[in-house]
Amino acid sequence: MATIAAAPPYTEQKVTPADNGVWSWLTTVDHKRIGALYLVTALVFFVFGGLEAAVLRAQLATPNGRVVSSEMYSQLFTMHGTTMIFLAVMPLSAAFFNFLIPLQIGARDVAFPRLNAFSYWVYLLGGLFITFPIFFAVAPDGGWFGYAPLSTKAYSPQINMDFWVIGLQILGISSLAAAFNFITTIINMRAPGMTLMRMPIFTWMSFVVQFLVALAFPVITVALVFLLLDRFFGTNFYTIAKGADPLLWQHLFWVFGHPEVYILILPAFGLVSEVLPTFSRKPLFGYPVMVYSGILIGFLGFGVWAHHMFSVGMGPIADAVFSLTTMLIAIPTGVKIFNWIATMWGGQIQFTVAMKYAVALVAMFTIGGISGVMHSSPPADLQQTDTYFVVAHFHYVLFGGSIFGLFAGLYYYFPKFTGRFLSEKLGNWHFWITLVSMNLTFFPMHFSGLLGMPRRIYQYDAGQGLELFNLMSTAGTVLLMIGTAIGLWNVYRSWNHGEIASSNPWGGATLEWTIPSPPPDYNFAEIPMVKSRYPLWNMKGGDKLVHETTAEEERGQRIPTAKELGIVMPNPSIWPLVCAAGIIAMFCGLLFLDSNPLLAIAIMTISTFWWVGSLYKWLLTPLEDHH
């Protein structure tokens, strides 16, 4: 038992967090609270994107559907894609980055707590900015990758695409700021003894993702700046009449776009790699290989972008090269899949909902991955691209991959987030309904695609042999709504009424399980000394692997406050929010540039002073009181 870090003395009961007023949330710089904000906001946007999808499916349920107009349909699928990717999945991952990374590396907060808050506020305001237009039927309508020249003023003179260009620009700021923050945090804030090769695998995958963000987002920023200048200032980057090359946009977008898809999946991979070992009672199989394959996937991810462009006529050589690099990625990903199975092999598998979602990811992502490899073969892809086969592919990897992984993480870490369990009973309904209906929704899309259904069509004719598949997909969506609704109800209900959880309810092995649930604002009363990859596990054999704490044994003792422990915590600050608001205001000014230049310039100058001013205020106030 000696080597097992039994529940340390200070983990022994909960005191309700001191200040919970609205102001405390607006000014918070606590990574755990910011994580919670990310989680809730992203779930709301997920529902929103899902409802948009539900309308899409309603329209496609029957041939020549008449639920929405063609214009509205374009806005719906554009916003569905944009919302799900930039406002739902990325921020859901961010919720886990924020909440988990400092806990897993044994730190008291991220490197730049206020920058962290800033990222969130920019995301929230940017998300609202890009979402509101749909209520006035002026939402972006050029598809989530807004191909030029359709997205230029010549062919989209209305305001719709302005919201998209500006909105993505804003969201980029948030992601980049977060990336610099987390890279610094992971490099420099690890507890003593937490060598890189002792870092929990989720932190590792997040680490890779932050580099992908830092390197991929500048490229789309540039592409968007060009489009923005074209639309507002009459430059010619995508002006066909001036000899522009529309492929410039496509290349720049996908140089960002493909790393982006790994930005979406790697955090989910990381979470699953945490869940599987805990519930199999075995360490992750081949930890080093899991790390290296993650890095490799990230690196290769920058060399495959043109596989989204096999149909544009790049010529046989380029097609061949990008085809091969794309296929290569199957290898490191495969290693992950097999290592996960090997992790479970010979274990003592306990099927909690979290575990079920993790296992389901392995099963479902493989399907999406294999259809991906089918895409990677250009001649075959020429029959698949821009059909529902692609839609099937990316929903298997995105829903069956990213979303399943994030749900696994949610069920696994919810007790740590809130100190309460999610209901396993509701969770099982949530899981099984989602699993079934997800397949019912997306599997038929393989057929409809290969049987000749292009994507992004608001109506298809009868008698084309597509009725049944589309009906199945729509039926599946209805079930998905019910399933997801159950899941969300579970989250809502359990947040305050769930069963009380102890500091280490699942018998996890890593640092976050050594501290109370929910953790005190300072996380660790004393910075732990890390001696192994699984500090809480006794893997030298013996009758007990880990000391699973229970709520009972932790009842009745109190947790010291930061003051008592003499720990200085950063002061709350409103400036990140003020600064973020100023930046959004500045961008809003652009919208009026055509209709009312003077007003636009006025707004932009004022808000520039606004945010620069608050930035100075923020930087010149010390983070914490001196001692």
Partner: protein, 445 residues
């Protein structure tokens, strides 16, 4: 976990149901399937796809079986002993790095082969077809025969056809699922695509689609493909080459009053949603004018793919899109439509600003489809509707209502154009005038 029992049981049934449904679905009739070997191009693709499918299925089975076996075999037993703490196994990990690599080689080699095979230069004697994408219809030019048609493509079986793909506005993608893979139409660039409809095909009809999102009517940018015997093909081309067989076609010149009306029509087009920069219009104007050799009425008999065969053997190529209830047209007038009157109305209407009719004075613009033989086509509006009097009438009365975002403006007097948001007054057409124009266009064989 009692709570889990019911949902799991339910799920099992549901999954089974879904699967059987899926299988059942595979029995049906699929007119746009990508799996048929109707051209050497699609044979190459499909052979490749079969390989992908084989290896993919293999991987799928291996992974899923391994996974399912593991989770059942190693369920937590009541006597929860601590399992053996294994950290990894180099040999194994090398194995499952290497095996996928090998599989990928089996995929990569035929892939690269097929890439270079299908993207080689087309045979020099190939039939040349210039495909020009417009929002939202297809212009097909046969440079070797010197005529231009729209939305209906005729190909001789057994002869290689080489498509030169261009667009005058946004990106589109040219796709005939039954014939092979798609190729995008890229602004400021010409793309190529070639294949050979199988020699032994009976002359038949297929569907084609636009596969790159190109605006509100992307879904409606379809076309028809007729692969016919070379004899039929030469009949068709011979007829298409001559100007429309219409009494007194070449006769009186268009009243010059019409000309100023043309320009507003064109300007109108160049602004607003999904429009064509005038520069590019000019670019395509030139060929359209002189490309039609004016043969006098040594009437070569009309030949088109027989309508009844479409209806009987290829029903899926007959569009069934319902008419919107937002426009109404007094269909009883259609019976009284008079072609000659129609021709006169046409000649002073803004139609001539966008459409060309070979052998008539108003044979200029190529903003809209060439109407020389419009009477012989089976579909209209990018293959969205059958080309009969009724649909034609509705179309002329208000194209944008039938085809969202349509660049062809509303012409029905008093209607509001949904794209340009203006009420049609001057130059607007009454139902009767429309009936006449319909009669005229129908007569253009």
């Amino acid at each position: 976990m009692v709570g889990t029992f019911r949902p799991r049981r339910l799920a099992a049934f549901a999954l089974l149901g879904a699967l059987t449904l899926g299988l059942a679905a595979c029995g049906g009739e699929y007119p746009n399937s990508t799996f048929n070997h109707n051209s050497e191009y699609n044979s190459a693709i499909d052979d490749l796809f079969d390989k992908l499918l084989f290896w993919g299925t293999l991987v799928f089975i291996v992974v899923e079986v391994a996974l399912v076996y593991t989770i059942f075999r190693f369920r937590r037993r009541p006597d929860g002993r601590v399992p053996k703490q294994v950290h990894g196994n180099t040999a194994l990990e090398i194995a499952w790095t290497a095996i996928p690599a090998v599989i990928l080689i089996f995929i990569a080699i035929p892939t690269v082969r097929t890439i270079f095979k299908t993207q080689a230069k087309a045979a020099p004697d190939a039939l040349q077809v210039e495909v020009i994408g417009h929002q939202w219809w297809w212009e097909f030019k046969y440079p070797q025969y010197g005529f231009s048609t729209a939305n209906e493509l005729y190909l001789p079986n057994g002869r290689t056809v080489n498509f030169q793909l261009k667009t005058i506005d946004v990106l589109h993608s040219f796709w005939i699922p039954q014939m092979g893979g798609k190729r995008d139409l890229i602004s400021n660039k010409t793309n190529y695509l070639w294949f050979t409809p199988n020699k032994d095909l009976p002359s038949s009809a297929w569907n084609g689609f636009c596969a790159e999102f190109c605006g509100p009517s992307h879904a409606n940018m379809r076309f028809r493909v007729f692969t016919v015997t070379s004899a039929e093909f030469s009949q068709w081309t011979a007829h298409q080459q001559q100007v429309a067989i219409f009494p007194a076609a070449a006769a009186e010149a268009a009243p010059s009053a019409a000309v100023p009306m043309v320009m507003p029509a064109v300007r109108q087009v160049s602004s607003g949603g999904g429009s064509v920069p005038i520069v590019q219009v000019a670019a395509v104007l030139a060929p359209a004018i002189d490309s039609l050799p004016v043969t006098t009425k040594a009437a070569i008999p009309v030949w088109t793919f027989p309508k009844e065969r479409m209806v009987k053997e290829f029903p899926h190529t007959v569009p069934t899109t319902p008419l919107p209830n937002t426009v109404s047209y007094n269909e009883s007038l259609l019976a009284e439509g008079d072609a000659e009157r129609g021709r006169q109305i046409y000649s002073r209407s803004s139609c001539i600003g966008c459409h060309a009719i070979g052998g008539t004075p108003f044979n200029m613009s190529a903003i809209g489809p060439n109407l020389t033989h419009v009477g012989t086509r089976h579909t209209l509006a990018g293959g969205l509707y059958p080309n009969d009097a009724k649909h034609l009438a509705y179309w002329i009365k208000s194209a944008p209502h039938l085809k969202p975002g349509s660049i062809m403006p509303t012409l029905g007097k008093g209607l509001t154009d949904p794209v340009r948001k203006n009420v049609v007054t001057v130059g607007g057409l009454t139902d009767m005038e429309i009936a006449d124009i319909v009669a005229y266009l129908q007569a253009l064989k």
